[in-house]
C-alpha cells in the first residue's frame, strides 16, 4: 500500500508500495521496470520451454536418423527434465546473490549452445546428453518467479507469478506446433528430412539468444536498480551464501511445497511426455491428432496457471494466507481425482474432456503454489523458489520412472496410480503453519507478528548493521495476509 506523503507515484508508471513493488498488474503495459521485466521474463522462459520440448514433436524423424529405441527415447525424456532439478536450486542461489537479471540472462545464453549443437547429434548417447543440457534452461522458471516476487507487491504477487509462469509453460505446448511447422518449411525449401530437423533447432536457439540480450539490456533486478549497482552503492548489501542456504533448508515449509509442487508441475511435465503416445495407442488416432491433443494440454497454461495465481490473490483478500493454503489443497486434490478418472474412462471424447478439465486444475495448482512461495522466506526467497521448482522436476522424474517406464503398468493404470499419489502427497499442505497467519487447520499463534517471522531471518549483529530493512518493509506490506478480519494499517508496528 502507498504511504501517504511520499512521492512514489511520480517515480514509477505503476502504483507502488513502500518497497517500490508494484501494487497493480497491467498486462498490456511494458512500462519499466515492473511490466517490462514481466514481459522479458515470461518470454525468455517461454523460449526455454520451446527448446527443452523441441525434440518430442520431431521424434518420428529423429528416431529414424539416430536409430533410437523406445528406451533411448524414454531416457532422453527423463534426462530433459532431470537436469533442471539441480539447476533450479543453483538458480535460486544465484538470484539471491547476483539478481535475477544477470542470473537468467547468463543461463539462457549458457544453454543456447546445447540447442544449436543438437543439430550435430549423431547417436542415442549424444542425443540424450544434449537434451539433458538443454533441460537446464528450465531453471529460468526460478528467476522468473523470483523476479516477479521482487517487483510485485503481495496483493498481486500471485497473479504476476501465475501469468509469468503460465505463459512460459505455454512454450511446452507451442513447441508441438512450432517445430513441425519449421520442419515442414525447411523440407519445402529443398532439404532432406534428416537435415531439416537439425536445421529446425536453430530457431529455438536464436530465440534464446535474442531473449538473453533483451533481459540484459532492458531488464532491471529491483525497482530501484540492479543488484550490482545497489550493492556497490551500499543500498543493498551482498548477502552470504551460507546464511541464505541454511535459512532455506531449515524452513520446513520449503520442503513441503517442494513435495507438493512435484505433484502438480511434475505431473504436468510427465503428461507432456506421455500423453500423445497414450491417445495414439489407446484410441488409434493418428499422430497429428495425438500431437494436437498433447499441445492443447500445454496450451491451457495460457489461462489456467494465471487463473490459479489470481485465485490465490483473490481468496487472500478475504481469508489471507489460510485462504491461499486451503484453495491450493482443494484445487490440487481435485486435480488428483481427475487424474484417477482419466485413467479409468474408456471413450475418446470422455478422455479428452477429462484431460482438459484435469489440465486446468493441475496447472491452477501450480499457480496457487507460487501464491504461497513468496511468503515462506524473504531473505532466502531465491533458494526456496529453487527448491520448490526443483521439487517439481523431481516429481516428474519420479512419476515417469515409477509408473511410465517399461511394461510394469499399462499407461492407463499408471495414470490412475499417479492420481492416487497426487491426492496422498497433497495432504501434507495441512502441515504448513505460519505463526503470524495460521495454517489450514490451526489459527495464528498468539502475539506472533510478520516482523517476528521475517526479521528473525537476520542475526542481531546483522540487524545492527541494518541489513534487515527490506524485510521490515516486506513484513509491513504482507500484513494483508491476515485476511479481512484484521484491518491492515501501516502504523501498527513499533
Amino acid at each position: 500500500m502507498e504511504i501517504p506523503g511520499e512521492e512514489y507515484p511520480k517515480r514509477f508508471p505503476l502504483a507502488v508500495d513502500s518497497e517500490h513493488k508494484a501494487t497493480e498488474f497491467r498486462l498490456f503495459s511494458a512500462a519499466p521496470p515492473h511490466m517490462r521485466a514481466f514481459h522479458l521474463s515470461w518470454l525468455s522462459f517461454f523460449t526455454c520451454f520451446v527448446s527443452t520440448f523441441a525434440a518430442p514433436p520431431l521424434l518420428p524423424v529423429i528416431r529414424d536418423d539416430l536409430d533410437l529405441t523406445a528406451t533411448d527415447i524414454g531416457n532422453a525424456g527423463i534426462a530433459a527434465v532431470s537436469g533442471a532439478v539441480f539447476a533450479r536450486l543453483a538458480m535460486g542461489t544465484c538470484c539471491d546473490l547476483f539478481g535475477p537479471r544477470l542470473a537468467s540472462a547468463a543461463l539462457v545464453l549458457a544453454t543456447a549452445p546445447a540447442v544449436f549443437c543438437t543439430s550435430l547429434a549423431a547417436s542415442p548417447a549424444s542425443f540424450l546428453a544434449l537434451r539433458f543440457l538443454t533441460g537446464f534452461s528450465l531453471a529460468t522458471f526460478v528467476s522468473t518467479q523470483f523476479w516477479m516476487s521482487s517487483l510485485f507487491s503481495p496483493n498481486v504477487v500471485g497473479t504476476a507469478n501465475g501469468v509469468a509462469g503460465g505463459w512460459g509453460n505455454l512454450g511446452g505446448g507451442a513447441t508441438q506446433l512450432i517445430m513441425p511447422l519449421v520442419f515442414d518449411l525447411i523440407v519445402l525449401a529443398g532439404a532432406g528430412k534428416f537435415t531439416a530437423w537439425r536445421a529446425a533447432f536453430f530457431i529455438p536457439g536464436l530465440l534464446q539468444t535474442v531473449s538473453a540480450y533483451g533481459i540484459f539490456f532492458l531488464g532491471q533486478d529491483l525497482p530501484d536498480g540492479d543488484y550490482s549497482q545497489l550493492q556497490k552503492s551500499g543500498e543493498k548489501h551482498k548477502d552470504s551464501f551460507d546464511k541464505i542456504l541454511s535459512g532455506a533448508v531449515t524452513n520446513y515449509r520449503g520442503w513441503i511445497l517442494a513435495l507438493t509442487y512435484g505433484y502438480c508441475f511434475g505431473v504436468e511435465l510427465t503428461i507432456d511426455n506421455i500423453i500423445a503416445q497414450y491417445f495414439y495407442d489407446k484410441f488409434d488416432v493418428n499422430l497429428h491428432t495425438a500431437g494436437t491433443i498433447a499441445a492443447s494440454f500445454g496450451l491451457a497454461n495460457l489461462f489456467s496457471r494465471p487463473g490459479g495465481g489470481m485465485l490465490s490473490d483473490f481468496v487472500a483478500r478475504r481469508f489471507g494466507m489460510r485462504g491461499r493454503l486451503w484453495t491450493l489443497w482443494v484445487v490440487q486434490t481435485v486435480g488428483g481425482v481427475l487424474c484417477v478418472l482419466l485413467g479409468k474412462v474408456g471413450s475418446l471424447a470422455a478422455s479428452v474432456a477429462v484431460l482438459l478439465v484435469f489440465s486446468v486444475f493441475v496447472q491452477a495448482a501450480c499457480g496457487l503454489t507460487f501464491g504461497v512461495v513468496p511468503f515462506v522466506s524473504r531473505r532466502s526467497l531465491g533458494i526456496i523458489s529453487g527448491m520448490t521448482g526443483g521439487g517439481g522436476n523431481v516429481g516428474a522424474v519420479l512419476t515417469q520412472v515409477i509408473f511410465f517406464r517399461g511394461s510394469r503398468y499399462t499407461t492407463e493404470t499408471g495414470i490412475t496410480l499417479m492420481g492416487v499419489m497426487i491426492i496422498a502427497c497433497t495432504l501434507v499442505i495441512m502441515l504448513i503453519h505460519f505463526p503470524q497467519w495460521g495454517g489450514m487447520l490451526w489459527p495464528p499463534s498468539d502475539g506472533a507478528t510478520e516482523e517476528d517471522y521475517y526479521v528473525s531471518e537476520w542475526t542481531a549483529p546483522e540487524q545492527d548493521k541494518g541489513f534487515h530493512k527490506a524485510s521490515l518493509k516486506f513484513s509491513q506490506n504482507s500484513r494483508r495476509e491476515r485476511g479481512q478480519s484484521v484491518i491492515a494499517s501501516p502504523n501498527t508496528y513499533a
Binding site: 536418423d65 547468463a106 532432406g192 531439416a196 552503492s233
Partner: protein, 201 residues
C-alpha cells in the same frame, strides 16, 4: 448337404470377420516368389545403392487366382532386429495396422511378365536391417497374396542399409559459430556488469 451348409457358413463368417477386423497377414498365401540383387548381410548406402527386384507367380500356391491380381506393391520391410524396442515398427497380423513395411519401392498395375524394377535407395530410408516383400492386391484394393526375400521367420537373407546422416558441414559451422557467439556474449555481459557497477560507485 449339411456339410455344404457348414462350408458356406464358414466362408461367409470368415468373409465377415475379414471385413470386420481387416485382412490378416496369416490369411495370405505366399503366392509370389521375390528375388533381389542384394546378397545376405550386404550393407547398402541410402541415396546411392541400387537394388534390382524381380517377382513372379509361384505356381504351387497361386492356383488360378492370378487373374484377380490387379496391383503389385513392393516394399522395404524391417527385420526383427530393427523392430526390437521400437513400437512404431511393430508387426501386427491385421494388415491395416501392420507397420513392418514402411518404404515403398514400387507400386504399379500387375502384369504377368516383365516383373522387375531397379530401385535407388531413397535418401530418407533410415539405418536398419531389411528384407523385401511384395503384396498383390485385387480390384478392391485388398491384399490377396505376398512374397518376400526372406523365410517365414524373417531370419535369412537380410541386408542392411546405412542411412544418410543429415549432418552437413554448413550446419556444423553454423552451430559452432552461434555457440561461440553465445559464450562470448556471456563473458561480455559479465564484463559490462562489473564495469557498470564500478562506474556507479
Amino acid at each position: 448337404m449339411a456339410i455344404n451348409g457348414v462350408i458356406v457358413a464358414t466362408i461367409l463368417l470368415s468373409c465377415l470377420t475379414a471385413t470386420c477386423y481387416g485382412i490378416t497377414f496369416s490369411s495370405l498365401q505366399r503366392s509370389l516368389e521375390v528375388e533381389a540383387s542384394v546378397k545376405a548381410d550386404q550393407v547398402l548406402k541410402a541415396g546411392e545403392a541400387k537394388i534390382t527386384v524381380s517377382w513372379k507367380v509361384n505356381a504351387t500356391y497361386s492356383a488360378g487366382t492370378e487373374s484377380s491380381y490387379k496391383t503389385v506393391k513392393v516394399q522395404l520391410c524391417y527385420a526383427p532386429i530393427s523392430q526390437k524396442d521400437r513400437g512404431w515398427r511393430k508387426t501386427v497380423d491385421i494388415l491395416k495396422k501392420d507397420k513392418t513395411c514402411q518404404h515403398t519401392i514400387v507400386e504399379r498395375p500387375y502384369s504377368a511378365s516383365n516383373n522387375t524394377v531397379t530401385y535407388t535407395v531413397k535418401r530418407d530410408v533410415p539405418t536398419a536391417t531389411y528384407f523385401i516383400r511384395a503384396y498383390v492386391f485385387n480390384a478392391a484394393g485388398e491384399e490377396v497374396g505376398y512374397g518376400q526375400t526372406t523365410n517365414a521367420g524373417k531370419s535369412t537373407n537380410l541386408f542392411s542399409i546405412e542411412g544418410v546422416t543429415g549432418r552437413h558441414v554448413s550446419l556444423d559451422i553454423a552451430a559452432a559459430c552461434f555457440s561461440a557467439f553465445s559464450v562470448i556474449s556471456l563473458f561480455g555481459f559479465f564484463f559490462m556488469e562489473k564495469r557498470k557497477a564500478k562506474a556507479s560507485n
